[in-house]
């Protein structure tokens, strides 16, 4: 009955927004609210779950995906809105996002079609990882004030049943680190390199996107494992960084000069492991230089994600045959049961000064569509995230 009533009056323009939900979690206007209060007050129907507040609560700022991008995503592919925050049901928790992770994989999630997780549905909040603080909890596993990591979405507030949420301790590491080194990016580097790439002491390990969030960690771990490490990055500044700050043995600036000859100079003994974040021509070129039993780790192909023309396949893939080599993809989620030990190991390396993390933090969730593009232009320098 309340529901019908709410439907009947939902076209009334709200004078001001107030966070209240009743039954079905519908946001109500002041007029609807007044009627509801009367109904509840006079016990006209049984109401199980309500919260009434006259203070103006925070609004949920969110970006919904409203069209599937062709090529680079634009602001028009998203709808920005500020909505009231729903009331919690039993088992749910309300999280205020502190940092939202921006990752190349998000571009794939915007596409229609089968992938390792379903695409974001049109009209849904854009999927994204994030860290945040529990504002309110009706879930026994989480308390108000806890910090969590999970798929919070591109929004300032999120309500969830707690599935996929992991508690994190801001005293152990600053929050952004839970999105970089101790987040999926760091895990992707760790497991992609160690489990798929299987570097051995003395191997030559080549990384593309080497100054990026994942690539920079891959290279440092390969150094720890005693490998000759060469990175491919865009621009002199990034190349200087991976050599001087991260200890890579060589750096190749793909924006200048001849990449093929630079590869020959920097990898005189060929390539045993190629950790590829980029795809396209560089993957194709590297395939001509791999050693016997080489491992090509397919972590991503950022050069191809916004293609409007067909993806460029690696024409030199038969080098895999000649060299008894493998090219293997992986999804970090498959290693979830080992995240903790990886975090402990990487924490130790960090404490020993062997592993550094760099974050690129942009202020303001409102900048989301433009900030995301930095990933594809190479504009970010370190793990890209938004401070909400």
């Amino acid at each position: 009955m309340i529901f019908l009533l709410a439907v009947a009056i939902q076209k009334i323009t709200p004078l001001y927004l107030i966070s209240i939900n009743i039954i079905h979690n519908k946001s109500l206007t002041k007029h609807e609210l007044s009627i509801c209060i009367i109904i509840v007050h006079f016990n006209l129907i049984e109401v199980k779950n309500y919260r009434i507040s006259t203070v103006k609560l925070a609004l949920n700022k969110q970006f919904k995906l409203i069209s599937r991008p062709i090529g680079l995503p634009t602001r028009d592919d998203f709808e920005y809105s500020e909505t009231s925050i729903p009331l919690l049901n039993e088992g749910e928790l309300l999280v205020k996002s502190e940092y939202i992770s921006l990752d190349p994989a998000m571009r794939g999630w915007m596409n229609e079609g089968k992938s390792y997780i379903p695409p974001v549905r049109l009209g849904d909040v854009m999927r994204a990882g994030g860290v945040g603080c529990v504002l309110e909890s009706k879930n026994g596993k989480f308390n108000k004030g806890d910090f969590v990591h999970g798929l919070l979405g591109v929004q300032s507030h999120s309500v969830s049943d707690g599935k996929g949420m992991t508690k994190i301790d801001p005293n152990l590491a600053p929050l952004p680190l839970y999105l970089s080194l101790f987040g999926l990016t760091g895990m992707t580097a760790y497991f992609g390199l160690l489990s798929i790439g299987e570097p051995k002491q003395g191997d030559t390990v080549l990384v593309s996107g080497a100054a990026g969030a994942t690539g920079s960690v891959v290279g440092q771990i390969a150094k720890i494992k005693g490998c000759h490490v060469v990175g491919i990055a865009g621009g002199q500044k990034k190349c200087d960084y991976i050599i001087n700050k991260l200890g890579f043995d060589g750096a190749i600036d793909y924006t200048s000069g001849n990449v093929a000859s630079a590869l020959k100079t920097n990898c005189p003994d060929g390539i045993d492991v190629f950790y590829d974040n980029v795809g396209g021509d560089i993957l194709d070129l590297v395939l001509t230089m791999i050693n016997l039993n080489a491992r090509v780790v397919i972590c991503g192909a950022i050069s191809q994600y916004n293609n409007t023309t067909p993806i460029k396949g690696p024409a030199n893939y038969l080098s895999l045959l000649v060299n008894r080599a493998k090219m293997q993809g992986f999804i970090v989620f498959d290693f979830a049961s080992q995240y903790k030990e990886a975090a402990v190991q990487m924490g130790q390396w960090m404490a020993e000064g062997k592993l550094k993390s760099k974050e690129h933090i942009v202020e303001g969730i409102e900048t989301f569509p433009e900030t995301l593009l930095m990933l594809f232009s190479g504009g970010n320098f370190g793990k890209l995230m938004i401070k909400v």
Copy 2:
């Protein structure tokens, strides 16, 4: 001195060819021979190693590679000659080829450039596997009358130091079987499928070139391992053969109809193992249909070997990432230490009627250039070889 003498008179036209070699293994004309016999007879110089025969011995019929083919090889890329057979040095043996194996890999050996074995040098006898009989031996490991398997080359007679030669027993299996099931083709199928493809009971295994020498064995072994086996072959006759004679569960004729929809019909649960002998568009298509943790075994890419345009890379390779799948090449030589156990296992399966072999035998080494082309036109039906 003999050498100088031989050089001095080498322009004299030989009246008839006779197999004789003295020092430096040079073939001599009748005139040279006469002089040599005088020298030897009168002990004018010390001669350590000579054989004199007045009977007309067999000539060595051979094809030398004289130019690197562009696209399909032609007869003009080879030089056919009939030459005398060199005298053996200590440690050498002379083998008369019985069957010469024709394999897609030979096309690769004709190209310049780094590969898993060096290319055939221009002017050298074309490399080929073969089985033959030892005519003469100065090598302690082999006796006259032994049968051997090895890289005998496209020639009727070969002299070698015995390296890479394996004794075979024609009483255990007919000679052609040592080039098919018990030869590199069978080994390629066995190790490529079992070691790289790792089929598990209930998996869907798809094989391209399924009626070919390797593909037909792959499919049969996959059936033995309890898989759902589908083959891709050219033409109804081959499709009927792999279903009715070899027991495949499904066959797709790539020369007729829509391969994509046929794949969907025949592989309703997706593809766990793809054993690819063909490459090109079919590999690309199959990549869109692989399952989680699928294994793509790159055995060859016969569709691409004679390309004069760049090789077509698999544009859908990112499916490896989404599906945590691997694409891996291999070279059968790496499994040499296990050939014997594979042969025993396949012999047992053959005895039990679970594994069949089919050979396509063409008579006459003279037909080599044209017979080779059957591999690329799909004209052969079974393991292609030449009866010398």
